[in-house]
């Protein structure tokens, strides 16, 4: 990247009474990036976004945009725009007036405003609908108007609060790609706040997974998926299976643990937990192998298939291990996903390099 980041949060803290919504949080976002803030409700992601927009003032820490301290700047003076979850379209104004609102505040000449509104309507594929009122639009159209209104001032940074939450499934899927395209075409940095890991995985260049007012991990979606830093990240981003146990010995690049039920498992580990300390192994459903019991007896356990669901070319199995643990296994048809049946006894195992032992 090089140079100063577009947005820098430096040790920002915000509390409401006793509730600390954002705790000593630092974050850099470069120009022209699609960034996702991901976390469960109440993790502080919405507060963080409102701090960036200027609707809240941090109790501590500073916020910089393009190297300039904007911490004390009111929202109407920040070159940052936001798309609200409710869209917050002005109900008494036409679509065109809604979109033009930001430029009018800048006192731009009438002709320029008209031309740029037309450009925006084209960008969001709403040409010819400028005279409609918000209540005459479908949910998807309102979402586009909200996007156009937020982008027309060519902000350096666009905040999007749960941009797809109000759309139905099919529309959500298409809109994800439209948002990505809008980000590429405008070159504006997008910061999407979402609780839906699918959205973040699909759209974001990088994502931050938040919990309890702090960031657990920042990285590219694939990196976060494959190398989760904490148990929370592993469980929140994608599906996973957990095995809890104590470290019994070190292996090359990893550890071997023993679970409470006497199961011995190996996994990679990036940290150095002490022998005897508690760790959790996370293994993704697609990285679990199914075989005939007795042949591969390493790094796994025998079990019985409880359920088998076939969906979108993938077979999902719910398997009860002999230790009593329930695991989730996913196989494509090519991997032999169709050959196992409900009630069948199988051996479930995994390669240590596919699993991660997590300390936190």
């Amino acid at each position: 990247m090089g140079g100063a980041p577009l947005l820098r949060l430096a040790r920002v803290t915000k509390a409401y009474g006793h509730l600390v919504a954002v705790r000593d949080l630092s974050l850099d976002i470069p120009a022209n990036e699609f960034f996702a803030l991901l976390g469960p409700s109440g993790c502080g992601k919405t507060t963080l976004m409102r701090l960036i927009a200027g609707f809240e003032t941090p109790d501590d820490g500073r916020i910089y945009l393009d190297g300039q301290d904007i911490t004390d700047l009111p929202p109407h003076l920040r070159p940052i725009n936001m798309m609200f979850q409710s869209y917050a379209l002005f109900p008494h104004m036409s679509v065109a007036h809604n979109i033009a609102f930001g430029l009018k505040q800048e006192g731009r000449p009438h002709q320029e405003i008209t031309a740029r509104v037309e450009d925006m309507l084209r960008l969001v594929q709403m040409s010819g609908l400028g005279d409609r009122r918000p209540d005459q639009l479908s949910g998807g159209q309102r979402q586009r108007v909200a996007l156009a209104r937020a982008l027309i001032k060519r902000p350096k940074l666009l905040l999007l609060d749960e941009p797809l939450a109000a759309l139905d499934r099919k529309l959500r899927h298409d809109t994800q790609f439209e948002l990505m395209q809008a980000q590429r075409e405008t070159g504006t940095s997008f910061v999407v706040v979402t609780h839906d890991q699918d959205e973040a995985m699909v759209m974001a260049h990088r994502m931050a997974v938040m919990r309890a007012g702090a960031i657990d991990q920042i990285g590219a979606p694939r990196e976060v998926y494959e190398e989760p830093a904490t148990r929370h990240v592993a469980g929140f981003v994608g599906e996973t299976n957990f095995f809890e146990g104590r470290v019994i010995q070190y292996m090359p690049g990893g550890v071997e643990i023993e679970t409470g039920k006497g199961l011995r498992l190996e996994a990679l580990c990036r940290e150095h937990p002490a022998i005897g300390s508690k760790v959790t192994i996370s293994i993704r459903p697609e990285n679990l192998r199914l075989s005939v019991p007795g042949i591969f007896s390493k790094n796994g356990s025998a079990g019985e298939i409880l359920d088998h669901v076939f969906r979108e070319g993938l077979s999902s199995f719910r398997i009860k291990l002999e230790t009593g643990d329930l695991v989730h296994v996913r196989k494509s048809v090519g991997e032999g996903g169709a050959q196992h049946k409900r009630g069948e006894r199988v051996f479930v195992s995994f390669a240590p390099e596919h699993a991660r032992a997590l300390v936190k």
Partner: protein, 302 residues
């Protein structure tokens, strides 16, 4: 609600109830007042003629109907006193209504923006004056406004003024009385309109670069329009015909149509003139109401 099904018996009755109400308590009395307005004053009981009855037969009744005339209306139109009273009433009511709006808007806004658990209590406070009699409250204002009243005593003792203000028995006192009495009727519709506004709209305006003042004029006020209209009508219409407040707080020179009406009825016992004055007042007030109704229809269609 697409196909228009024939009305069932029950639905007919439900629709007939308000129609019957309007007929019994509005149209029928209105017809009576209109008839009196078309009659001539008389020293009799009732103090006008003709009086309709069938005792003298159908022909006599028909002849009597023939004697009805619009003379009284012509008289009311021709007399400058009535015109002056109408204009003065409209002027005072308009000023009072605008003052009420100016006071009520910030109050309603503060109520609507107050923490949720306070709002019910604030609404109760706004309508608390209704818990005491209207007349007693107006009499209380006399005590406050008189030359030797509480306000003058206070201002004198604080040394803010050296001679007592003469507010009582002026148009100013009437305005104070109207604003005070009708404030809740302005606050309630305004509060209702403001409280429904989505706070994220103001955040969106601010986010797009609008100063708080711009947001107020481009978002808050236009979206409160229906509440403003309702409040203006609820205050203006009764204020035009107001009788008690100008009679108790106004001076002998305070000209309002409600008072003129009272004088015609009870001092002059000229029922036909009083009825004609009342009918003019009604026409005067129905015009803005119809306009409001049309606005509402337009809003609903959109």
């Amino acid at each position: 609600m697409s196909a228009r099904a024939p009305l069932s018996g029950l639905r007919r009755m439900v629709l007939a109830a308000p129609a019957l109400w309007l007929f019994l308590f509005f149209l029928a009395p209105f017809a009576l007042v209109l008839k009196i307005a078309l009659s001539k004053p008389a020293i009799a009981q009732p103090p006008y003629e003709p009086t309709f009855s069938l005792i003298e037969g159908w022909q006599a009744l028909w002849d009597k109907i023939g004697t009805l005339s619009f003379d009284t209306f012509a008289l009311v139109i021709g007399d400058d006193l009535y015109l002056a009273a109408y204009l003065s009433s409209l002027r005072l009511a308009a000023i009072a209504t605008l003052l009420t709006l100016l006071i009520a808007f910030p109050l309603s806004l503060a109520m609507a923006r107050a923490p949720k658990h306070w709002r019910t209590a604030l609404v109760m406070l706004a309508i608390a004056p209704f818990w005491t009699s209207f007349l007693i409250r107006i009499y209380a204002w006399i005590m406050l406004l008189k030359e030797e009243g509480l306000i003058n005593k206070l201002l004198l003792s604080l040394g803010i003024i050296s001679t007592p203000l003469s507010i009582f028995a002026t148009e100013g006192a009437v305005l104070i009385g109207i604003v005070y009495s009708y404030l809740p009727f302005m606050i309630l519709p305004l509060y209702n309109a403001l409280e429904r506004q989505d706070p994220s709209l103001l955040e969106a305006a601010s986010d797009l670069g609008a100063t708080p003042l711009t947001s107020f004029w481009t978002i808050t006020v236009p979206l409160a329009r229906s509440g403003i209209f309702a409040g203006l009508l609820l205050v203006f219409i009764p204020a035009v015909g107001e009788f008690v407040i100008p009679d108790l707080l106004g001076g002998s020179d305070t000209l309002m149509i409600g008072r003129t009406l009272w004088n015609e009825f009870f001092d002059n016992r000229d029922w036909p003139t009083a009825s004609a004055v009342a009918i003019f007042l009604l026409v005067l007030l129905i015009a803005p109401l119809m306009n409001y109704e049309r606005q509402q229809m337009k809003e609903a269609v959109r």
